[in-house]
Symmetry: C2
Amino acid sequence: MPNDHKMADGIFNKRDTSRVTMTDVGRLAGVTQVTVSRALSHPDKVSKDTLRRIQDAIDATGFVPNAVAGALASKRSNLVSALIPSLTNVVYTSFMATFSQHLRQHGYQVLLSETGFDAASEDALIATHLSRRPDAILLTGIHHSDKARKQLQGAGIPVVEIWDITDDPIDICVGFNHHAAGRAVAEYLKAKGHAFAATITADDERALRRQSAFAERFTALSQSAVPDANTGGTASIGAGREAMAHLIDHSDFRKGAVFCSSDLSAHGAIIELHTRGYKVPQDIAVVGFGDQDFAGDIDPALTTVAVDRLQLGHLAANSVLDKLAGRPTKSVHDLGFKILTRLSA
Amino acid sequence: MPNDHKMADGIFNKRDTSRVTMTDVGRLAGVTQVTVSRALSHPDKVSKDTLRRIQDAIDATGFVPNAVAGALASKRSNLVSALIPSLTNVVYTSFMATFSQHLRQHGYQVLLSETGFDAASEDALIATHLSRRPDAILLTGIHHSDKARKQLQGAGIPVVEIWDITDDPIDICVGFNHHAAGRAVAEYLKAKGHAFAATITADDERALRRQSAFAERFTALSQSAVPDANTGGTASIGAGREAMAHLIDHSDFRKGAVFCSSDLSAHGAIIELHTRGYKVPQDIAVVGFGDQDFAGDIDPALTTVAVDRLQLGHLAANSVLDKLAGRPTKSVHDLGFKILTRLSA
DNA sequence: CTGTTAGCGCTTTCAG
DNA sequence: CTGAAAGCGCTAACAG
């Protein structure tokens, strides 16, 4: 009877296989728990025969290692935290897809969160992430509160800031100069012969920086003011249409070029212009930002500012991996940008 | 001298504040580590005065609790795993945004991964996630390998399958019937008087199920075959254009209606049709799927199949929370769908 | 190649 | 209200 009871509590009858431990596996394979641990992390240090018996025991029990315990003991979580402004903006998620995939190949998992527009909540989110003891952390943008900077520095892990650039990163930054991008578009449009310009901008700190650089430069070159239509929080086709409509109805902008802070709003602007009978680019030219996958597929194909997001993903991931491996790393990576000339401007 | 040395190693000089422990905080506040733990998780069980001293010590040291140790000791990670097919598909990420936000308000963090199209790798990904001992896990779709099902059941945690529906979920499922959706669109288009139809479908198991239900039903109603153009892996505007071009160039489909597996490909189809001089919906009508945010903003506004993603997010999150709290929960939630009639069909 | 011994930094009883 | 003791399941030296 007592034996039967033991059996009922034994590993074969654990309905909850997540509670199977290395000790259980070891017992079944006739070795200690430590050998099981070794078999999993340093298989070369365990004999072929033992390895096989352990593998059998793992299969029989459905053992799934407990990474929480592993992380606590080893002080390495194999977790990389990532904070992006929005989960639904392809510009950020396509970067994340590359970044995660790259890191996954090296055994790291990415803990991804959306920071949203509430800058105040970033601090709390950072603290929550740090409590998981990630091996590295990635942030979007270069503006963070003093408290956040302090916490991040205190964490003693690699910190990567992306999508913008500064001489004074917390640790590493990889991105490009938004001011220079806005300026470059102004010069491009002026060179194309446009005497008037307007902007359509989302409520995003980096977009606003591009816009102001654009307006400043274009005004300097053409002596004409640059009206702006703000789309509010998130760029979208609908917001772009509305902004374009607003520009036409409520400013004296009738011909020239529009610089949009996103390909989405640019697409919306084009739709609105077509609906109203304007020809793009003959009557009004449109420039987007981001080179999203559809930019070349709309009509007319969209002229836009391209940043190599694939390279951004790889560089960010490699910077993390290099730092983690103790290899020397550059702390500032300027990716640059490129104006992709298509038909819309 | 020995004292000085102690100071140099003391908590005030730890550059690495992530190594400040509750013991350090307690020492500074004149209490033991246990009291610090209590102050954080059950503040009501600690005296006002002690609480204040502990709070001061936390501020002074920059202490960030170690959730890894906490999870190991308490067997609760406050982590919820989520696996979605793609990080760049708004249909999934907009759901995730709602889901995470909702869970975050209840103290859970979401560990998000992209499964991609490689069905085989899902198993490995599930195992990796389970090793973090999440308190619950969310999967997209209802088709998982036997091995995966076994592991998931063994984990002894709530499992939510979304975006599809079945009588036999692993635990909980919340979604809608894809077959019924395809069928409903066929009936809608037939009722609109269309005698011919075609489909544009991405390489996605659920999209294919909608397509075959559509084709079967439409053929039954109209006695005419339904040609399909497959866009391959991911739906996009570009893929939609190509597929539409292919349909016109390589099938005898010239008039009628096209049912697309995504609003993106539908948008692409419309652009291609306009480019070729066809009028939508007079010459060819177009129906999308998903009701993405731009659907009403393109020209003509897109008729599409809408699923309430917001409700999906809330229901999925609430199911998890209910289950975790031991409240009774329904295991199958059918969200249904709705054909949104706009101008394109 | 395998085992022993110590923790990792918390939470959870159980005492006082 | 506070403390002492006992782990959670693993990894990291160190022996053998």
